[in-house]
Subunit: 328 residues, 2 copies
Amino acid sequence: MKITMAHGSGGKATSELIAGIFEKHFHNPVLARMEDSAVVPGAERIAVTTDSFVVTPLFFPGGDIGRLCVCGTVNDLLMSGAKPQYLTCGFILEEGAETEDLEKITASMAETAKEAGVSIVAGDTKVVEGHGGIYINTAGVGFVPAGVDIRSSYCKKGDVVLVSGNLGDHHAAILSERMKITNTIKSDCAPLGEMVNALLEAGVKVRSMRDVTRGGLGTVLNEFASASNCRIELIEEKLPVSAQVRGFCDILGLDPLYMGNEGKMTVVVAPEDAEKALACMKNSGYGENAAIIGSVVSEGYGEVLLRTPIGGTRIVTVLYGEGLPRIC
Amino acid sequence: MKITMAHGSGGKATSELIAGIFEKHFHNPVLARMEDSAVVPGAERIAVTTDSFVVTPLFFPGGDIGRLCVCGTVNDLLMSGAKPQYLTCGFILEEGAETEDLEKITASMAETAKEAGVSIVAGDTKVVEGHGGIYINTAGVGFVPAGVDIRSSYCKKGDVVLVSGNLGDHHAAILSERMKITNTIKSDCAPLGEMVNALLEAGVKVRSMRDVTRGGLGTVLNEFASASNCRIELIEEKLPVSAQVRGFCDILGLDPLYMGNEGKMTVVVAPEDAEKALACMKNSGYGENAAIIGSVVSEGYGEVLLRTPIGGTRIVTVLYGEGLPRIC
């Protein structure tokens, strides 16, 4: 069935769409109340985030926009040290979108929410003119345990920088799909709760933590360097990149440092906790290729350097504009 | 300046857009931390909601998409009895959107947030191909005071139904603007915090409360009747509609019962509190035309009836599909 403007009217066609697809997959006691706001239990400190997802194609190797939107928002909450609890989702559907696709996406959101341990407690649907596109905004609420305080401005000299796995997989998967390049690269789209829990429960002193998404690792670390006013040095040969993605990048002239992932994080920890952090990450789901990739070498000037195998360094700049074909 | 795909890249162009427009208008200590999630103080029970805004035109008499998106989300939180606290905003910008428009909209959001007493604590921007459109998703978090419990399923026989003012103003204003009809009808777009506070502080026993938006009063009251399994009877001549909107509807064959407002609410209260509720609403901002419009006449069957001036009744059905030219 194709989405029509009537599905966005707020009347019976909208109700049928909600009952037929969203309720079926998202059902929980909070949503079942069908109020405009979900009233849910709270906490001392809460974390709040939002993200919109506009990826094409909607379905790709390793995931789909539904898995992506849940992972993206859950991961953003996790990065502040919060335990993700509740998600809202706002669908903006272009007229002509297929309800079959919408249902697959919704089922994928429900499954991913279950994996990540979050409830989808509020939703909204709008229909606009267009060509069958589907956009999803997810906002998330999490609870922050007492004593947890993680910020991009907390990096100190001597701290160690880790990344949770291979760079560029999501970006390369989406580009391959768009450019009809045949390979077996899959998106790494995944919720990172197990890994973050492991780090916090092991008592690792986490200074800064961020998922590596749009803009890539280069952009995230520049944000840390700038917020903490420190110089971060990366060791180029330590950066984990799969052979297949490396080949893909070489052919297309892409730099994995600026490619988006959707199930990877970078974390800056106190030097004495570096090995413990690495073990926590490697032993968690989606962390088998975690690596120590660099350190904070000085304070007083915010920049990111890359030390190359022949001993030189180059500055890792902030991405300006479209360094790469866009994927989200 | 026109929005380009580069503004959605997550790199420097995105940062410049954020710094140049969003930070300028939304600045607060939480946003200034520039993390992916905002960590904010919490509460025992929280309310969570989301809504996407796709209105055209972006600017209209009485408001704009910025004022609209803040009011819509704040009002949804208020309707569950929550005190609105935090908003997130996700912008989906079509390539070619004007940054001047975006700035006006952002300023309007900031001003409306101030009026409504909420902080905008997280945001996201995506750019998609298209024709210069601007879509905004806002999600909201509010705290629910102890003892407050308002649901659409709580209507009882004898309860009294009120509405906070004239029906159809927002819908008529948007349609007039689109159809280039010259009149002085303005959108009623407004945050309803003062009114809801007045009702709760006066101890009015509120059963059900809902803002009257897309779908109109007819749709909202059908939702109450269905959730509470009760028959609601409205008195047609009590429904407040301005002379100008009445004339507009007569000419175009529209029914104010299905027209969207953006600063009106309907509330069902215990019979002994009806006059007190009316006084609270009339004495609050945006409530001067509040009225008692009907009552719950029986239980056991969910429907809404309209008693006409000549003594007959007709069933107020649920809106199916596009009963009206769409405005949101």
